[in-house]
């Protein structure tokens, strides 16, 4: 999926948010992409900043059905690590 590589690139600015430790995604069949941003702990302010970035990505890829989440968990075995 060529779009997936573009999405991975678009997710890179998440690195610049203090408290973000990683990002991984899972592509489902078709147009469904689950994005997980890894934080050791999460608070309201951090969650808001992450979701502002998510909103930007969603605007750039209207053809994709995203599920955006935050997590403290490591990537699943089927995940693609973004960073």
């Amino acid at each position: 999926m060529e779009t997936l590589e573009k999405i991975k690139k678009a997710l890179q600015p998440l690195r610049q948010i203090e408290g973000v430790e990683g990002c991984w995604l899972e592509e489902e069949e078709g147009d469904i992409v689950h994005v997980y941003t890894v934080t050791r702990t999460v608070d309201y302010a951090l969650q808001k900043r992450i979701f502002q970035q998510y909103a930007e990505i969603e605007r750039r890829f209207p053809e994709v059905s995203f599920e955006f989440l935050t997590t403290s968990r490591p990537p699943s075995p089927v995940a693609e690590v973004v960073f």
Binding site: G30, I32, D43, Y44, A55, S65, L69, T70, T71, S72
Partner: protein
């Protein structure tokens, strides 16, 4: 569930939030979960009443080569004014339920921010419908 049952559940949850999110319980993880659940039932009532839709789950899925939209898709499509708030409440409630976030009394600020911003804005939308 019928529209009326969804609305009844939403109001029940809204009343419960105040108990969970104050002393003596100060159960902010559950208060956040119930904030989301309250909005979810308003969403389901809205989708059923105005679009005759009953979502099968949160996220879209594929079954037998057919794409089944999830509630998140329907909120984006039919309830854009609350979409941003809904996504954050969804994520926060998931973190509260499955990852131990918002567990201690020290998380009162996070709970209050979610209640006074995301929950309040979504709730206001449904209040305009008389709900």
């Amino acid at each position: 569930m019928t529209v009326q049952e969804h609305l009844q559940q939403a109001h029940h949850n809204e009343n419960l939030v105040h108990v969970l999110g104050s002393q003596p319980l100060e159960a902010y993880d559950w208060a956040i979960t119930v904030l989301f659940s309250c909005i979810l039932h308003f969403v389901d009532a809205y989708l059923l009443q105005y679009h005759n839709i009953t979502p099968g789950g949160h996220a879209a899925t594929w079954k037998k080569r057919q794409r089944i939209p999830g509630r998140n898709d329907y909120v984006k499509l039919h309830l854009p004014p609350i979409y941003d708030a809904y996504k954050i409440l969804y994520d926060a409630s998931r973190l509260a339920r499955y990852e131990g976030a918002y567990l201690t009394p020290a998380r009162v600020g996070d709970y209050q921010n979610l209640r006074d911003n995301e929950f309040a804005s979504a709730r206001q939308f449904f209040q305009q419908l008389g709900w």
